[in-house]
Amino acid sequence: MKVAEDALLEVDNLRTQFDTPGGLLTAVDGVSFSLSKGKSLGVVGESGSGKSVMSRSIMRLLPKVNIQTEGTVRFKSRNLMELAPRDLRKLWGPEMAMIFQDPLGSLNPVVKVGKQVAEGLRVHSGFSKKEARSEALKLLREVGISEPERRLDEYPHQFSGGMRQRIVIAIALACQPDLLIADEPTTALDVTVQAQILDLIEEQRNQRNMSLILVTHDLGVVAGRTDEIMVMYAGRIVERAPTKVLFANMKMPYTEALLESIPKLERPSHSHLLSIPGQPPNMIDAPRGCKFAPRCKYVQDRCVEEEPELISAATPGHLYRCFFPVGSAESADALARNMANGKVDESGSRVHIRT
């Protein structure tokens, strides 16, 4: 696998499985990528595609029971998979930080926000109470909380959702991490606030030369914001490319479907649910071939038989996982065949036979 020289994070063949009553559920399956210092990566996929589990696997912040992880996560050339909990704790905060999917529930309801922001500084940087408080004040100001002196001593329920997410960001930034993983940081917020929060994260990333993994189910959110985009489906990477390349020349039918499900790309952000027809596959007993085959409009017999590898496109840094990539002559033929045999209707969408 190619290793960028200044790679901050290298994930190699990461696999995370849950022991569930129904069987072994593979939530993340063989994910490999690397991220350089100061760069940003957008991770996009539908609900259930494994984005959160992947983020937590990278952080090593997973539940302790009924779980199996494989592969390596190399952060600053240390394999996190081999670190003991106490060594991981030293990384969490000063080296890597995470913003979780639920901004409203991420703050402790019975602890003053100032204390929550200052806590990491007290633990990791050995700040005194007073120093930590004044640093927390600075942080709150930086993330755009007005009157921070007064608000330090307030409780989370006294803040709006957007404000709470700003506080969560302040907590994540407190110890100057080199990597920030933001898992759908704006999903629960309304549209105008979403854009502000994303801008804030972007601005802080630039100022601090921090690397960022921005997870979202909305291709529109990462469109203008991250250096690269990685599209996930059924726990796998199905396409990965620099943002411009991806939008100019996407190869993966799934990425195309994601894009088509967004009505207007110009809008700053979208809160509507994605609606690609059909269901993502069962991750306990996934079908043999391409995982997207049951929903793909280019699907051919081969797709059902064998799973495509992640292969490089002509443009450097562009990877995809498809036998009939969008825009190729083969895919045009495939689509024409499917229309002829009735798998796809005249409007170009896959016909689903309900069983």
Partner: protein, 376 residues
């Protein structure tokens, strides 16, 4: 200043009530209660605001009136003729009637209640003809061991339940969790007095001898009350077994509540965030998970004081502590209703004050409730 101006009426009223209460409580049996009430009020003012605390204290007045009425009605409806008991078998119908008149027992029910309440308000619980003692003095003498027993039990129960519940909740589903949970369930299943006897047997009187092997110790005294005045260590040594036997079943209840709330709390997103800050497990458990998990526990702790009172009375009996329990038992056996009535009133008042305290504590622990109460 602004606060003073806005609340002048409330402040004056509160002052007045406090003066009346003082007149009432300044008498020895109530001094405990009164001290508690002041503490509760001050605590309430601290964690919420003065108005809310004052409102809570005020709202106790009708409750206490109802309690006193219920206590009085119950006692008057008990069978037995007090005058006959006092005078003994040699009493004539005439002398009974005369004593009844003297004691006011010939008057209608509400007059009697009114008279009694009139005395109670100024701190006079009456005089027991049978025990030949002022009831207020009798209760104040016997309530000290009882309150000590209850307080030590509650403290012990919390000291046992909090670490056990937290650990068990954190280790949810593991063997350690199961061991702790079942052990505590066992303590819940054993009645207090049985546990008391077992503890005495094995820790105080040397246990049993099986095939010539002694199993047990003589570490602690089996009975007798030693006041604090006679030395703290001796006092605590004598109180340990009674407190422990009373505490274990409470500890079991507290532990189970804390455990299940802890499991719920540890699943919340803010615990993930706390972990991702790189905090140590202990810090996460104590600083982040304990407080939000303790709301049910606090409520139940307040309520459990009720069952603690009942348990204390029996435990006193087993360990021959001269507490309110033995005072009430003596009163009941001797048909001394004045004494029983007074003791029950004092205990109920204490219970209500403690409940109020646990309510206010709840507010202190959950800032969300505090702001609701301010808005109301």
């Amino acid at each position: 200043m602004k606060f003073l101006k806005r609340n002048i009426g409330r402040i004056v009223l509160t002052g007045l009530v406090l003066v009346i209460l003082f007149a009432w409580f300044a008498r020895p049996p109530f001094s405990w209660t009164f001290g508690l009430l002041i503490l509760v009020g001050a605590f309430g003012a601290l964690v919420t605001d003065a108005n809310y605390a004052a409102r809570r204290i005020f709202s106790l007045i009708p409750v206490l009136l109802i309690v006193s009425f219920v206590v009085f009605s119950l006692m008057s409806s008990l069978p037995g003729d007090p005058a006959l008991t006092i005078l003994g078998a040699g009493a004539t119908a005439e002398s009974i009637a005369q004593l009844n008149q003297e004691l006011g027992f010939d008057q209608p029910f509400f007059n009697r209640y009114g008279n009694w309440m009139g005395d109670v308000i100024v701190g006079d619980l009456g005089t027991s003809r049978i025990l030949r003692e002022d009831v207020a003095d009798g209760i104040s003498r016997s309530i000290t061991p009882t309150l000590q027993l209850m307080a030590y039990s509650l403290i012990l129960a919390v000291l046992i339940a909090v670490p056990a519940g937290m650990y068990s909740g954190y280790k949810n589903g593991t063997r350690q969790d199961r061991i702790i949970s079942y052990t505590m369930l066992g303590f819940l299943a054993i009645p207090n007095f049985v546990l008391a006897l077992v503890l005495v047997l094995f820790l105080a009187v040397g246990g049993v001898t099986i095939f010539g092997v002694d199993i047990g110790f003589r570490w602690l005294p089996a009975a007798r009350y030693v006041p604090i005045g006679a030395g703290w260590s001796d006092h605590l040594k004598h109180m340990l077994l009674p407190s422990l036997s009373l505490a274990m079943s409470q500890a079991a209840v507290f532990m189970r509540l804390l455990r299940s709330d802890m499991i719920g709390t540890l699943r919340l997103p803010f615990i993930d965030l706390a972990r991702s800050k790189g905090l140590k497990t202990g810090r996460i458990l104590f600083r982040h998970a304990l407080r939000p998990s303790s709301f049910t526990l606090i409520t139940v702790m307040g309520l459990s004081v009720g069952s603690l009172i009942g348990g204390a009375l029996i435990t006193e009996y087993v360990f021959t502590l001269p507490g309110v329990g033995s005072y009430i038992f003596t009163g009941i056996f001797k048909r001394d209703f004045v004494a029983v009535q007074g003791a029950v009133l004092v205990i109920s008042t204490l219970f209500i004050v403690v409940l109020t305290f646990s309510d206010l504590l709840y507010l202190a622990l959950d800032p969300r409730l505090k702001h609701q109460s301010e808005a109301a």
